[in-house]
Symmetry: D3
Subunit: 300 residues, 6 copies
Amino acid sequence: MFRHTKHLQFEAKPEKPDALYAMKLQELIGGAWGEMTVTMQYLFQGWNCRIEGKYKDMIMDIATEEIGHVEMLATMVARLLEGAPDDVTAKAVKDPAVAAVVGGMNPQHAIVGGGGALPADSVGTPWNGKYIVASGNLMADFRANVAAEAQGRLQTARLYNMTDDPGVRAMLKFNLARDTVHQNQWLAAIEQLQEDGLEGPVAPSALFDEENQEHANTLWGLSDGEQAHEGRWASGPAPDGMHEFHYLENPAPLGGPASAPPPSGHLYATHDGDMGEGSAKGPDAAPNKTMGDKIKDTFS
Amino acid sequence: MFRHTKHLQFEAKPEKPDALYAMKLQELIGGAWGEMTVTMQYLFQGWNCRIEGKYKDMIMDIATEEIGHVEMLATMVARLLEGAPDDVTAKAVKDPAVAAVVGGMNPQHAIVGGGGALPADSVGTPWNGKYIVASGNLMADFRANVAAEAQGRLQTARLYNMTDDPGVRAMLKFNLARDTVHQNQWLAAIEQLQEDGLEGPVAPSALFDEENQEHANTLWGLSDGEQAHEGRWASGPAPDGMHEFHYLENPAPLGGPASAPPPSGHLYATHDGDMGEGSAKGPDAAPNKTMGDKIKDTFS
Amino acid sequence: MFRHTKHLQFEAKPEKPDALYAMKLQELIGGAWGEMTVTMQYLFQGWNCRIEGKYKDMIMDIATEEIGHVEMLATMVARLLEGAPDDVTAKAVKDPAVAAVVGGMNPQHAIVGGGGALPADSVGTPWNGKYIVASGNLMADFRANVAAEAQGRLQTARLYNMTDDPGVRAMLKFNLARDTVHQNQWLAAIEQLQEDGLEGPVAPSALFDEENQEHANTLWGLSDGEQAHEGRWASGPAPDGMHEFHYLENPAPLGGPASAPPPSGHLYATHDGDMGEGSAKGPDAAPNKTMGDKIKDTFS
Amino acid sequence: MFRHTKHLQFEAKPEKPDALYAMKLQELIGGAWGEMTVTMQYLFQGWNCRIEGKYKDMIMDIATEEIGHVEMLATMVARLLEGAPDDVTAKAVKDPAVAAVVGGMNPQHAIVGGGGALPADSVGTPWNGKYIVASGNLMADFRANVAAEAQGRLQTARLYNMTDDPGVRAMLKFNLARDTVHQNQWLAAIEQLQEDGLEGPVAPSALFDEENQEHANTLWGLSDGEQAHEGRWASGPAPDGMHEFHYLENPAPLGGPASAPPPSGHLYATHDGDMGEGSAKGPDAAPNKTMGDKIKDTFS
Amino acid sequence: MFRHTKHLQFEAKPEKPDALYAMKLQELIGGAWGEMTVTMQYLFQGWNCRIEGKYKDMIMDIATEEIGHVEMLATMVARLLEGAPDDVTAKAVKDPAVAAVVGGMNPQHAIVGGGGALPADSVGTPWNGKYIVASGNLMADFRANVAAEAQGRLQTARLYNMTDDPGVRAMLKFNLARDTVHQNQWLAAIEQLQEDGLEGPVAPSALFDEENQEHANTLWGLSDGEQAHEGRWASGPAPDGMHEFHYLENPAPLGGPASAPPPSGHLYATHDGDMGEGSAKGPDAAPNKTMGDKIKDTFS
Amino acid sequence: MFRHTKHLQFEAKPEKPDALYAMKLQELIGGAWGEMTVTMQYLFQGWNCRIEGKYKDMIMDIATEEIGHVEMLATMVARLLEGAPDDVTAKAVKDPAVAAVVGGMNPQHAIVGGGGALPADSVGTPWNGKYIVASGNLMADFRANVAAEAQGRLQTARLYNMTDDPGVRAMLKFNLARDTVHQNQWLAAIEQLQEDGLEGPVAPSALFDEENQEHANTLWGLSDGEQAHEGRWASGPAPDGMHEFHYLENPAPLGGPASAPPPSGHLYATHDGDMGEGSAKGPDAAPNKTMGDKIKDTFS
């Protein structure tokens, strides 16, 4: 169960409105790597966590903080939209800078949101549940969390340079700091999982006895760039301490030709009538063939 | 530019058809963490790579391999669908195991795909471009790639246990091995980026002078689980070697109350008429207030 | 800012697992009218609320409660999935009832969620941000909130009859009660808005002086059902107290013929060359016509 | 079955083209609350209506009218797009107002639609079937219809202020009037349902004997705003005439701690090995634990 | 403007309910190639048609018919769902055939639709506006219409074999016939466009003087299948009567190496610091390089 | 299996950057009719092809080429984005042309893609798997392929006129030529299928003996446009050589009234209590009726 205080985790006061920047800032709310994503990702991971104790408690701490980040950003967007142009274009546009705003702002900020934030990204695409993962495997999920914080911090840094409003920058600096600490925390948690003997670096850590170990070491050279073999990924020990990298130059395929089996007659797939061993034959199974003949007669 | 050989990278021959399993296997083709995702993610990363040489060449090698993985899985699905029930339900269902197949198989495998694979996941949701990221920052992207390979290997491992078909298992073992090596390779690439002095562990590695360093260390205790402070993420040095973790118990918010500014009159947002300092007043700015009085008269 | 206690608002303990029911219950988590929807809808409405005081405080109370409802349902789904079939189909299926479960359960519950809930509905469609509205106009939004609670309660009632598990039913009875009180509260809030003179029953309450009042009263009879004029909506005073309903039998259209203007030549729209008054003429503006002649020559 | 006349229900003639406004107007065609939504919502409600007579006939009348509204708006958009800039940017842009148009117009209006309307909203998101509901319960559906008309009228009012074109305004005034009468008609239909004894105000009206009545009255105070208890929703009789509101200050959770059950070994969820009573044990059930030990050996 | 008669274009009476078949039949309502698609595609094409007269009139005739097809299918689905299992699974399942139905039916048919049709396909994916095209170029659009009718007829034929209900089959035979005639009509319209000299077979028919004619004839042999050159597409005259096909065996790429330009410093893309000619240099432009050095110091 | 050369199929070098045009060009990458669509459509068709030999080999040749087209366009977009405005708006905007760019460019090109292409269209909607079809029936699929090439060429032609950059135009001329030859090749393949007796012009070519032939000839006149009967589609022989067109003026519906059957009581659909013959009666089956009486008492 959750509780709420109306005080924001950190201040969200722009010095002046900026409707074009409000549109861009939506990326941090409802983008694939925005705060709605980390909120929902961590909440579902916490609820699906199978170990009571420090992992689950930490996940829920961070998840709960992230709801408050959506709140800060939504508040900021509403304040950036104050007095946004919602009038006849020709009346609103006085100079090129205003033209950029009038042409570029998200029309749904006025028409749909009435001056408030939307659960969408900077091009108006709505947030959706496929952005998140909560697999139950903490190694796999913490890898995804590091990625989310890294992309999130990167996008915040880009947005930081698109404004010089001291109020917006103050909040983004707080967000940058939180993205830094959260990135560090998920990296620390990845180490912790290994120290606790719960997971190895490669998820899932279970080794399949029959796993094709000869294929677990090789970089297949399938593009003609000449330097792929120069990196750490092409020779020497792998990070999991169990494999040794090799580079395969110009490798041959291991499988036979790709092909699809003969279709059932009910599917009306185009086929030349040789239905292959084991398939049902007769008029019902091969309507196209029968029809093909009829058509040949008709059209020739 | 690409070239194609009709030989598969690895064999994809099931011993017998299994339409229900074909539906499940779609997760590895068109799921959020399936092969279409890694194909497109690595291709766009390669095309957007700003350093010529070993990084780009390696990305393109792996990207090109992944197209062939979609091909292997699509071929496998078509073969698993051979002779799938496409008839009247009552005719097809003889026993409970068939009932599970008839009820559970993806109807679009017959109706739409005509016995072939679909660019969709195991519940039929189509693959979409928001599943991938190619940010230009290799550290952030390689973090995402590790996550993708980890989730991919995890899902493959789960699917491995849902079949006992030796042909399917043989191919999945190959896939597991490739997911292992690719996970290792992205992890190695993360080390390489740091060895080459291109990025630090926290992306992006730029430090904002004004970044709120006091907020870059702390875990805010916002959930009442009692063990969150016991992990490596709550005390001691952070993985980036630049920060020292601290745990904040029962922290107070730093910001003022959340609130949205007074709305423009053209938005018809509900407001009590006190438009706040600096807002336009008068009938145009506050239609609801004026209207509110009129309504009060009408309804009282 | 938010805080979390690990205790659930209400108990979520099924007597026994039921993977098929878990799939259905997802509708209440990530369906268009599920708890993620009301959570996000009320949060964004609260953040976008332009009146400080009782309206905003009430919205935030209910919004915060709804996050806890998602938590209850996600916990319930994980418990219903305990021991769900994740094996070879033929091994798992013993009798028809198991067949229904094996065929019908959401494969992503195992493959993607690892036995946990997903941010998706009962057919696996992910939740998305277009399900919610926060317009800034409280009358319009409270109308949407009543609708959401009504559909939510209706779906909960339907799901109540699809299980006889006493633990599930106990939780659903709590949910039904909360949907009842919330429905009542949004209805009360609609009355309150009018009592406070903030909005009338028709949103937005602003009257456009030039609004076509003669078209604000009539039901156009455009379908040949003969009883449409018998309801309260076809005669007598309208609920807003300002209009009187009328039924128009067999009404004639008021506008001229629909037509699209002549296209720009750069669009290559098919056109017969008479570009209409005011359009640019010449080879650049009418490439198809020019081309049409050329084609005529070529093909005749 | 339907029939069509090429005459529009109301005139749709702009005085002059305005490509930027055409983009905004798309919200009324393909937005979540646009005319495609009410068209499809009412059609499916009519087709799914279980009572022959006045309800169904009225629904089909309005549904049929709404198809014609999409037609009016699509015609208007095509006319607003006449001569829209489809040229090299630098050639087209002469002054700031044109810059706003060239930068802000929907590029798909030229590239995809060839100067015609699209089934999408003002930011280009395509209309989709999740925007509508047709539940079979008329009270729940009419609540949704009132909400749709309210949001629709609100958005139309906002768009009305964004143009001063007399032709566009004339059509929007007609649309505003139709939204008013339809809002009134759904409100009247809600009253009618209760007069006819078919539904109560809370949908569905069935009382579950075992419904938790003590939880059907209370507003849980979970946010620290101090005025939530001052509204009609916190004390006094509820609108359904069956409940009495109460405000719960600082309420304690009623449930136990949230937790997820021990996972199946096949899911490779991270777990500490204590699988809990009733779970299968042994190497198959707990691969991670076994693997954890192996990893510990390997990495320590 | 549209009008409606409550009589269906053709009868839609199943002999008996079949909830599993109802789920499959949804493909014809809300699938990518279902009746909602052709309805909306033809309506938008008609509204966007730039030639008054026979083309536009024919498009509107067929578009209007298609609305009625959605109605027939929605009615059929509701009737197929009569008495569908909506109870506790174990109670409902008596034998394998019922198990297939209970496991396989769309749970939203009960939970969301209340026994009525949904605007979704056979796996529950909602219909969306990207399924349709109305480009203004009639040749391009009629090509899309033939494709839609062909896929639609194919899917109807597949569904025809999945039932033996005489009532369903009677309606599907009508639909098959309509798909046949509409396919023929769009093919005839393609001929008509050419006879009228409005378009050639290749859309758009405009020839770009500078078009690379040497690249408008060749099939690039990029896959090692050996028979691609045997078809009509590899030699001889092309259908447009203007080109002669050639097969290019093992063609060399015509362009230089793919590469992305040096990034702006504000983007924090990973780069090795050599920003290339014309790029800004200095600390602002290359934060990563500067940071890279700092990191190197820190971590080495 | 695939291989890659880093050389582009054709050169992709703009003379100068143009961020606004880069946004528009995304339509050809990730639009519904863009290169990702034809890539995936042809790949899945090739993998699902049931005839070995010339058809499959040709499909794979073209499919493999299309991957390289995505590569060319992605490279072009990255180069067009070089030095794109990523700064504070007021600093960047100097004149109207820049205002159009700053307001109009896709903000995700900077924030998400870091100066690289996105798998999305010109309004930022992500590419998705529903854009493609691979049905197994080659006639139906080749019809779809012609449509895709026609729409693709049309969109390329429109984009050609929106730039005067000689480098961009050179590449687009190559693309136009490839769209021409591919359109011709699919048209030739349609002829080939008929020559080979595999399919007739109407897909699927199977004739259902019981197909309603009297309904396979007629154009139903359902719109009042007066010229629909003047085209080739209304009289004379149909293109399949098997039918003769007729025009039906003012046709009467063939079916009875549309209606939905009485609902199950568990669905809480609104109903007047007469459940119809064969339906279960009693309190469980008709909760609303029972409740209706109770409500009537309460509210009257």
